[in-house]
């Protein structure tokens, strides 16, 4: 059986980092990066990924765009790629990435392997959604999204094993696609958005002595927590439910359809506002005792300030910092790059108030003390 995989390399991804720029979105930044002596990393990383994968010869069909969007690298790695398109003349950009993803979607690939950063992930996701699993080879400097493997070789191997199929150890999980508006960031105004959840292969870690899918149970634990929390919600208290799949479980147990990517407001078991803006929240809060139930967003471990800016400093202050309930899977907390949760509400006093230690709910009757720090 032939397996078909798409390879998308964003050749400029990761160039900003070494020269102190936050990302390479936009022509002007790229020129600046080049001027500062940045080297293209993405193709090197992609080659490492492809080389590490033990592809089954003769059964693999690798689809890619021409030149440094994948063809060159694939050929270097000893594969024979099928070129299905070209980048437009000059520098590749978001449009090329999306065009490649679209071409691959049309050709029914089993997986898209890409080398890039958050921007690349977002561009692909906007085309494929949850239709095609995706896996990132890390190259970019900012990775708030959770679709990246731990290293290039791991990405290659995981992709090959997933495509080979029949391996009990590989599953698919939802992972956040996030991106920061780089233009805003360079003006020191941070703005990140949770775009959605992509399907990503992951290695179900075996348990010692025999193998077991501990991740399944981790999810079951969160599900049970959602059920418990739903059952324990107080009358006449306004609940602000942050975005993400973790908090979504709670809404499901209330029989409500929330907005996965937005903020919802629940009062007495009913959704009173869906996908609320900051202004909506402030208005809804009027005259109500309230709680905020929030997840941990993205691979960097943001509590507030990335992907849930609607829950602004003003909203948090109105609710009160003692009325926050944070919910996350143990696995997510352990994987935090800095062992800490991050807050960046834009209000440094509030960030200071939130800093310190916080109980994160990881299952029914189970909390974990996590350090919280200003980003």
């Amino acid at each position: 059986m032939t397996v078909r995989v798409g390879l998308i390399v964003n050749p400029i991804a990761g160039m900003g980092g070494k020269v102190g720029l936050k990302g390479t979105d936009g022509e002007a930044t790229l020129d600046k990066a080049r001027a500062l002596g940045a080297e293209p990393l993405a193709n090197t990383r992609a080659e490492a990924a492809l080389a590490a994968a033990s592809w089954q010869r003769g059964t693999l069909e690798l689809l890619t765009f021409a030149g440094d969007m994948g063809e060159t690298t694939a050929t270097k790695a000893g594969l024979e790629p099928t070129v299905i398109g070209n980048s437009r003349a000059g520098a590749s950009d978001a449009g090329d990435t999306a065009a490649a993803a679209r071409a691959m979607l049309e050709r029914d690939v089993g997986l898209i392997l890409f080398a890039g950063g958050d921007g690349t992930a977002r561009d692909i996701f906007q085309v494929i959604g949850q239709e095609v699993p995706v896996l990132g080879i890390p190259t970019g400097v900012k990775m708030h999204s959770a679709v990246f493997a731990t290293g290039p070789a791991s990405a290659g191997r995981l992709a090959a094993e997933y495509l080979r199929g029949g391996t009990a150890g590989i599953g698919l999980a939802d992972a956040e696609i996030m991106d920061i508006d780089e233009e805003e960031q360079r003006r020191n105004r941070l703005s990140a958005k949770l775009f959605g959840y992509a399907r990503v292969p992951f290695e179900r870690r075996a348990l010692q002595y025999a193998k077991a899918a501990s991740h399944v149970s981790g999810q079951a634990k969160l599900d049970a927590l959602g059920r418990d929390t739903a059952a324990g919600m107080e009358q006449d208290v306004l609940y602000i439910i942050g975005p993400g799949s973790t908090t979504q479980r709670l809404l499901q147990h209330l029989g409500l359809e929330g907005s996965l990517l937005g903020v919802d407001v629940v009062l007495n078991g009913k959704a009173v506002v869906r996908d609320a803006s900051e202004a909506d929240l402030l208005q809804a809060l009027d005259g109500h005792e309230a709680r905020i139930i929030s997840g941990v967003i993205g691979g960097q471990g943001f509590l507030f300030g990335r992907g849930n800016q609607q829950i602004s400093a003003g909203v948090i202050r109105r609710v009160g910092v003692d009325n926050l309930m944070v919910v996350a899977a143990v696995e997510k907390l352990i994987a935090l790059p800095t062992n800490r949760l991050l807050v960046d509400t834009g209000d440094s006093d509030l960030d200071a108030d939130l800093s310190g230690f916080m109980r994160v709910h990881t299952g029914p009757g189970e909390t974990m003390m996590l350090a919280v720090a200003a980003a």
Binding site: L207, Y209, A210, K211, S214, V216, K221, E366
Partner: protein, 469 residues
Amino acid sequence: MTANAPTAHPYMANSVPDIKQEMLDAIGVSSVEELFEQIPDDHRLKRGLSLPKQLRSEAELRRHLVDLLSKNATCEQNLSFLGAGCWQHHVPAVCDEMVGRAEFLTNVWGSPSSDHGRNQTWFEYCSQIGELVKMDMVGMPVYSYGCAAGHAIRMASRITGRHEVLVPALSDPERLSVIRNYCEPDEMESHIAVVPVGYDAATGLLDLDDLKAKISPTTAAVYFESPSYVGLIERQGEEIAAIARANGAETIVGVDPITLGVLKAPADYGADIVVGTTQPLGVHMNCGGGVGGFIASRDEEKYVHEYNTLNISIAETERPGQFGFGLSCAHQTSYGMREKGKDWTGNSTYLWAISGAVYMALMGPEGFREAGNLIVAQAHYAAKTLGAVKGARVVFPAGFFKEFVVNFDDAGTSVEEINASLRAGGIFGGKDLSSEFPELGQSALFCVTECHTREDIDRLADALQEVLS
């Protein structure tokens, strides 16, 4: 040992000064003390331990232990009729051989490939228990019968979402105490209320009217044993299970597997979960250190996913046609899931799974049938014989397996005094029930097994006759 001529310790290969020095040199430190740098000085014990003299010579050590143990009197030198949760059954020599095999004795974890033989033996233990109780799902052993019952009750509570269990009033106080701990005090949110169900004064069997009065839609499970604590074969199993089922409760049955060559398998009268003791299956009493428990049920996800035990499944290997045995549903135990596991999993009594496997293979269906018939006959002979002694009365005279209650109220003396007299004559009398069940008066629980002979029983009767006369 003298300070200037240290002798290497037989258990420690590196307790030779020049080896220690070479190892220190290899890592570049001058003394072992430096390696403890992490421990703050004010945490350190500033004096040497004050312990009894070292006995490094095996000869000296053996002499010391044998001298101490010679102060014991055993159930071999004496004639014992004690049971009540720890029973004197014959332990086949091959069982002793296998649990003494270093590979079975010293292994820990390992892997399904490297410790294949042990895993297969474990699977064979579970498989044979499965045949005795007629259940397709059997977990690895737990600490004891009472612990098995406790876990099963908690399983039933999780399955039904209910927080009450009905248990026989005439239960073993040892097991019941364990169960009460497992069911938690009522301050705890997940507390399970333990509600006793009375017994029929004439037969000692469960009082079905009381059961019907107490069961309700809040009942998670009905737990009963056959044979019961006082040895009786609970003949109303089918009715009890039907009552439980009608109320949406689980039926948990406790059994002694040595009975199951002659007694109906619990699955055949409606048990949902079966628990029991493993000690009769080829394990010495070990002063109570031989106890172990098992949990079994139908092979349905609803049950299997609630087990706290390690579970061993047969599985193919990567080599075509070959099979091995691996851990199944590991994620639901505490090893994989921390506190949201199903209770906890830890070291248990897995060596007794080895002796159990050997025992059941040696017994076969005919061994269990023969042993069961022999025990039932001898126990009834004993009851009849003792009951004929003036001052003694068998409280529940029919329908028991190996244990029965003898009452001495008519003798005008206490069980304590009777047992003291018997002991002087080299006989360990039955367990004194007088403080556990005051309503039974001066009663004792006697146990007779295949280890006894008719002469032993006659000797007991003669001795009792003498004591009571």
